[in-house]
């Protein structure tokens, strides 16, 4: 589409585009240069502030924090996939007494901010009901409820997006409801949903950072801890930069995987309804 928005540039347009490019680059470079300038002026590149990277103990602390982040991510990812599968099946059910409550649950947890869910689990349940939930489980369960509900919608959209003929043909062959779902609809839907599911997992990984707010010792929490250590020179900016690189790298790997899968699926002749699922994805993953 983008290529048809403008003609092949003539001499005038080429000159104009070149000017725009130069001006745009200059603005971006000016902003970057200003930030770097401020970093230099305030002495943030001072070797003393970067020394902490070389301490083995601190490397272990960061590694442990990374482990905590990944542990929360892995368990939350598996649980939210299971939650999503159960409630998607519930919403697709023909029985109103199953599908109505499932709809309410999914809509409820999708509408409440994830942080409020985590607060309810961590502060609310322990102080209000007297059941202590550790910070780890508050993060994991919060992520499960929220992302599970979003995934339930993704699964449902994936099944709905398949051509009607698929289910009709399966019923005509005499298959039962469960057989139609497990043998015909799900294998096709899962194929087309895979990129969407992976990009939702990126959201799970990103949202583990919320654990910082309830003091779950993950990456960001340790960044705050190290950044306030006086004997290291309180290098919070430096630690934040390193942690940012770690987060972005992990998420880029997952996103890259999702893009790669999408490309391979598009080429495959078996792909059905990828575009339809994608349209739904735009609505859901915002």
């Amino acid at each position: 589409m983008t290529a048809v928005l403008y003609d092949i540039p003539g001499p005038k347009a080429r000159a104009r585009n070149a000017t725009l490019g130069v001006v745009g680059t200059a603005v971006v470079l000016a902003v970057l240069a200003f930030v770097v300038y401020r970093l230099i002026v305030t002495g943030q590149f001072d070797p003393r502030l970067w020394e902490w990277i070389t301490y083995v103990n601190i490397q272990y602390i960061l590694l442990g924090a990374l482990g905590n982040t990944l542990a929360a991510f892995a368990v939350a990812a598996v649980l939210s996939l299971a939650f999503g599968a159960v409630f998607a099946a519930g919403r697709l059910s023909d029985h109103a007494w199953i599908s109505r409550p499932s709809t309410v649950v999914v809509e409820l947890f999708r509408g409440v901010p994830l942080l409020v869910l985590i607060f309810i689990l961590y502060f609310g349940v322990s102080r209000g009901l007297g059941i202590d939930i550790p910070a780890y489980w508050a993060v994991v369960l919060g992520l499960m409820l929220y992302n599970g509900s979003v995934l339930a919608e993704v699964f449902r959209a994936g099944v709905r997006a398949l051509p009607k003929g698929q289910a009709e043909a399966a019923y005509a062959l005499g298959m039962r409801k469960t057989q139609v779902m497990t043998n015909v609809l799900l294998p096709q839907a899962l194929r087309s949903m895979l990129p969407t599911i992976l990009s939702q997992l990126v959201v799970v990984l990103k949202d583990t950072a919320l654990g910082y707010i309830i003091l779950y010792p993950e990456l960001l929490y340790q960044a705050r801890f190290l950044g306030s250590q006086g004997q290291l020179g309180a290098p919070i900016l430096q630690v934040a930069m390193v942690v940012a690189v770690m987060y972005i790298a992990m998420c880029l790997i997952l996103s890259g995987l999702s893009k790669l899968l999408e490309k391979r699926l598009r080429k495959s002749p078996k792909a059905v309804g990828i575009d339809a699922v994608e349209a739904e994805e735009e609505k859901l993953l915002a």
């Binding site: 983008t2 048809v4 309810i120 502060f123 609310g124 910082y212 960001l220 919070i236």
Partner: protein, 215 residues
């Protein structure tokens, strides 16, 4: 019920903070997002790559990290002393703009190719093609996902409460100081958000119904 009525002013102030934060960030992110989308489809390759780099980086950064950066690392740069509220706004705008940009760009991609070709054949420039032909049609398919981005923004404002901005997400801390039941108090906060999301959902349905038919 008591938890809500005894602390009515606390809830009112909290949700007022949420709404202020939301309105400022929503307007800011829409403006920045559309500008970015413009850069991503522009005929200037270098602007396109800047847009792509920005979107890919921000979309893969946790919002908590962005706000963390503005709350703790920004003061170290000693640029200007801005209040927590405005720093949270800047963080939310920078984060949400990347999502707005992607939605607008994919909306532009849904407009049939013939529309742009026809307007070019009529001698329209890039600016005219975009503003007179492509964008008015793209907006229609963009409204539902764009509202979703804004609903996500509304929910994301709670994260600012973790960085000392007066906001609905921070109500629980005051409640527990005053000795009220935090569990019930938080359920009221959750209900408040469901109520805030409702008008946005209705607006989305309404606009969708009105505009989807006219194409």
């Amino acid at each position: 019920m008591n938890v809500l009525f005894d602390n009515l002013s606390l809830y009112a102030n909290g949700f007022l903070g949420t709404i202020e934060l939301f309105l400022v960030s929503a307007i800011g992110s829409l403006i920045l997002g559309v500008l970015l989308a413009g850069a991503r489809v522009s005929p200037v390759p270098i602007l396109r790559s800047f847009g792509t780099i920005y979107v890919n980086t921000i979309r893969n950064t946790p919002l908590t990290l962005v706000l963390f950066f503005f709350a703790f690392a920004y003061p170290r740069l000693e640029i200007a002393d801005i209040s927590f509220f405005w720093r949270a706004c800047i963080g939310l705008i920078l984060y949400t703009a990347a999502f707005v940009c992607e939605v607008v760009r994919s909306g532009i991609n849904t407009v049939p190719v013939g529309q742009a070709e026809a307007s070019r054949a009529l001698g329209f420039t890039f600016g005219q093609t975009m503003s007179e032909v492509v964008l008015p049609q793209a907006i229609r398919s963009v409204v539902p996902p764009l509202t979703n981005v804004q609903i996500a923004l509304l929910k994301n404002t709670t994260i600012a409460a973790g960085f000392s901005v007066l906001e609905a997400g921070g109500i629980y801390a005051n409640l527990s100081e005053r000795g009220y039941n935090v569990f019930v108090g938080l359920l009221w906060v959750a209900l408040g958000f469901l109520i805030l999301v409702l008008p946005l959902t209705l607006l989305q349905r309404n606009l969708d119904r009105r505009w989807s038919t006219s194409r």
